[in-house]
Structures are given as structure tokens and as C-alpha cells.
Amino acid sequence: MISVRDLSVRFGETTVLHSVSFDVAKGESFALLGESGSGKSTILKALSGQVTDWTGALQIADTVLRPGHRARLARTVQMVFQDPFGSLHPRRTLDDTLSEPLAIHGQPDRDKRVLAMLDAVGLPRRFRFRLPHQLSGGQRQRVAIARALMLDPPVLLLDEPTSALDVSVQAEILNLLKSLQEEKGLTFLLVTHDLPVVSFMCDRLAILRAGRIEEMADVAALRAARLESDYGQELIRRSQHG
């Protein structure tokens, strides 16, 4: 579903990604694990078209991305951002936010689909005309997930979707993402620094460090705390004793 071949990205003099390659199968949940500066978010930005200055080969579903060119990807891939406060327009109601993608693509039955989506992400229908500041962090993140799913894309990019949330709310959002994935057969590419979240959510993972993939592993290896690379082991150690 997602294919990344020899992806390199440079910002001026510094190279932030050194020919990174990986594949994600349909319906799979793949984690990019790393600390800040590892380049994990840059991969998402390249896949979502926010960064177009890259070399290599990128493909999502049937769409081949070209460097220097913003592809029309809305129905193929959508993203859930880390900060539920910055990712919603402060003056637009939930209804505005959720019907916007439908309006852009001229799709019918907006009212019905907005209500159905509110149900799907577990938001009460009476919230429909609320503004973001009337919602809690967890509720906002549900709106962000709903917005990402309005056009039924097969792929979701998740950029640390729960790291800004309280732990009890994190559990609700992770459960929701997992249910939606099973229901709709979604493919997830999750960026995170949180190992336990990967254990819960993902099937496979890649560990990134300074723009290179250190190790690719099955989640079973992570759960058994048996990653092969030294850096992987170090991450496990810190996660348990940090």
C-alpha cells in the first residue's frame, strides 16, 4: 500500500534522510520509531506532500508521487496530527471542519455523512455545531480522526496522535484507531517515540536514528524486548527505566 524506496531529503546543507526504504502492506500498521531529529516526521511530510523536495521513489496505493510536485492525494491518504489544539481551525465548528473535504470534492449527502462520522468516532451528535475551544483534547483528536476519514482514504498517517493527551484519554483514542482500522481495513503509518504504543497498535516497526533506518522488526521482537540493534535495545532500556 505504501512503498518508499531510497528516500532522501535534504534541507539546505543538512541531509535529514539517507535513502530510507520500506514497504507497508494493505491493512497493516507500521511504526516509525525514533527520537526528535531522527527524520521520522520528515517521512510523513514527504508522503503527505508537505515536503516535495526529495529524491527516491514514493508510491501510495496506485498513486506514484513525483518530487517537486504536489499530487492530489486527498482520497488516498490523510493525516492525524500530534497537537489537537493546532490542527483544528479555531473559528470553524465541527460541522464546518467535517463537511469541508466533502465540499471540496463536491460530494453529496453532507449532513448525513457528517452525522454518521460523528457516530463512528464516538462523538455525540449534539457536538456538531461546537467550536474547538468547547472540546477537550481527546474530543478534538476524535474530530481530527473524523476529518481524516471523511473521504474514505485507504491510508492514514498518524503523527504522534496521542503524545499530547492524558494517559486515560490516550487509551480511548488508541482503541478508537484500532477499531476503525479493523472496520474499514485501513493502513496505518504511525510515527512515535513511545514503544508501548507501538506494541499495542502495530504489526511491524522501523527504528530511525539520524535519518537512517537502524532496524526493521516484527512487533513480536519488541514485545519480547529482543530487538537486534544496539540502539533498539537502548530504546527498550530507556523506556523501561528512563
Binding site: E35, S36, G137, D166, V167, S168, V169, Q170, A171, E172, L174, N175, K178, H193, L195, P196, V197, S199, F200, L222, R223, A224, A225, L235, I236, R238, S239, Q240, H241, G242
Partner: protein, 273 residues
């Protein structure tokens, strides 16, 4: 020895629907130890720290039956004397160093300026103590770092500079509000080690305020778990698994684990609390 004792602390804010209590009758004492205060957003944990520092801005109101620091009653302390306490005797480290450092003054100069409250130091003494402080927070080449501007250092380094700025005055009490949540895991350990060192070697009292249950549990001598402005549970070091209160237990259960095999995470049922 008791450094800080707090009894029945309440912080109230007015709202459209009448006064709202964000901290509701909190009591604890702090010696020369590491006290962790954990809670989720809105639990009142940060407001507790600010109340002790006398930093609750109006229209917020702080009341307590007892609020004593080093034997002095903080409740009736005039603002001028309180200001003399903040810095030399008690200080606070916040989450994001970028907002706490002055962007246009070199790091060394900022730390030396913090020393100015001591007054009677020569410029040479100040410089020596500034470099010592940077050394104490494990900055290898303090000479170089002292010449940098805040934007030229990483988040972890910035946080260490912040701590150095606090430490240079050798306060008796430090309140650290989410000191590591803006940092990478690898840097987190270092910052905590530095704080630990200060408690052990200089006999400082530390209040560590955080949302990270595991981190606080691993690292503090005692933990207070706060929920809706009240302490629901007090736990000893490493005794997280003995937690009794349904809120604490719910929180622990809802955290994913490294060897996670559950298909769904249990969600905290707030109606039971």
C-alpha cells in the same frame, strides 16, 4: 526535617457559574526528599506548585490552614518578602526552557544576573559560580555554552541551563513542573539524574509535578496522586503496583505496556469515581 508543610490548601477561581475550586483541601509535608505529584490535565497539580510559590495570579484565590516554608508562614508574607524568597530559597523549573530564558542575553550572563540578588559577590566570583553551576548540570564545556544564546542550544541543553540558573542560588526547595515532558527520552534521564544529584548532595527538597505516572513512580521517594483537585492516594517509592484507589488503578491499567497483548485497552470509567 520538614521544609514545607501544607494543610488544607485550596485554590479558587471565579467563573460564570460561581467559584470553582481547582485545588480542594490538599495537605502534605516535604522534607529533603523527592516528592512526586501526578495527575492528568485539570487535576490541579500545577496550581498546587504555583500556590506554594505564591504565583497564583488574581482573580485566583489561595487559602490554607497552614502554609509554612522553613518555619515561615507564607500566607501572610508581604509580596516584597516573598519575592526575596523566590530564587534564593525556592525556585521553579517549567516545561519549556525556550519561554523561560531571555532570547537576547547570553546564557552565562543570564546565570550571573541571577546571582545579582546575592549582591556582595565580585564579578570574578560570579563567573566562577556560574561556570560551577553549568558544570553541576553536566555541561562539559561550560566556557563555550556560557557564550551561547538560548536559541543556539537544544531543548535538553536549554532545560539544563534553566536548572543551572536555579541551582546557582542553591535553593532549599525546587518545584519542577513537567521538567522533562518537552524532552527526548534519552535526555530525560540526564535531567532527572541532575535533579537527583542536587537532592542527594545539597539536601534540596524537590516537588516533581508530572503526568507521567511511570516516571514519577520510578524516580520519587513518595507520590501523591491527584484527581480533580484532591489527593486520592499517597504511594511510597516503587509501590505503584500496590495502588488501591480505582483512579490510580484505572490509570495504570490504561497504559499500554511493552509486552502488550491486550486487544483493547481498558478505559477509565469516570462515573465510578
Amino acid at each position: 526535617m520538614t521544609l514545607l508543610s501544607v494543610e488544607n490548601l485550596r485554590v479558587t477561581f471565579p467563573s460564570d457559574h460561581g467559584p470553582v475550586e481547582v485545588v480542594r483541601g490538599l495537605s502534605f509535608t516535604l522534607g529533603r526528599e523527592r516528592l512526586g505529584i501526578v495527575g492528568e490535565s485539570g487535576s490541579g497539580k500545577s496550581m498546587t506548585g504555583r500556590a506554594v510559590m505564591g504565583l497564583v495570579a488574581p482573580p485566583g484565590r489561595v487559602t490554607a490552614d497552614r502554609l509554612e516554608f522553613e518555619g515561615r508562614d507564607l500566607r501572610s508574607l508581604p509580596e516584597r518578602e516573598f519575592r526575596a524568597l523566590r530564587g534564593p530559597r525556592m525556585s521553579m523549573v517549567l516545561q519549556d526552557p525556550r519561554y523561560s530564558l531571555n532570547p537576547v542575553i547570553r546564557i552565562g550572563a543570564q546565570i550571573e544576573e541571577a546571582l545579582a540578588v546575592h549582591g556582595n559577590l565580585t564579578a570574578k566570583d560570579r563567573r566562577t559560580r556560574m561556570l560551577d553551576a553549568l558544570n553541576a548540570v553536566r555541561i562539559d564545556d561550560p566556557e563555550r555554552v556560557a557564550r551561547l544564546y538560548p536559541h543556539e542550544v537544544s531543548g535538553g541543553m536549554g532545560q539544563r541551563v534553566m536548572i543551572a540558573m536555579m541551582v546557582v542560588l542553591e535553593p532549599a526547595l525546587m518545584i519542577a513542573d513537567e521538567p522533562t515532558s518537552a524532552l527526548d527520552v534519552s535526555v530525560r534521564g540526564q535531567v532527572l539524574d541532575i535533579l537527583d544529584d542536587l537532592v542527594k548532595r545539597r539536601g534540596m527538597g524537590l516537588m516533581l509535578i508530572s503526568h507521567d505516572l511511570n516516571m514519577v513512580a520510578r524516580w520519587c521517594d513518595r507520590i501523591l496522586v491527584m484527581y480533580r483537585g484532591e489527593v486520592v492516594e499517597e504511594l511510597g517509592a516503587g509501590a505503584l503496583h500496590q495502588a488501591q484507589h480505582p483512579y490510580t488503578r484505572g490509570l495504570i491499567a490504561s497504559l499500554p505496556r511493552l509486552d502488550e497483548t491486550r486487544d483493547r485497552l481498558p478505559v477509565l470509567d469516570r462515573s465510578l469515581l
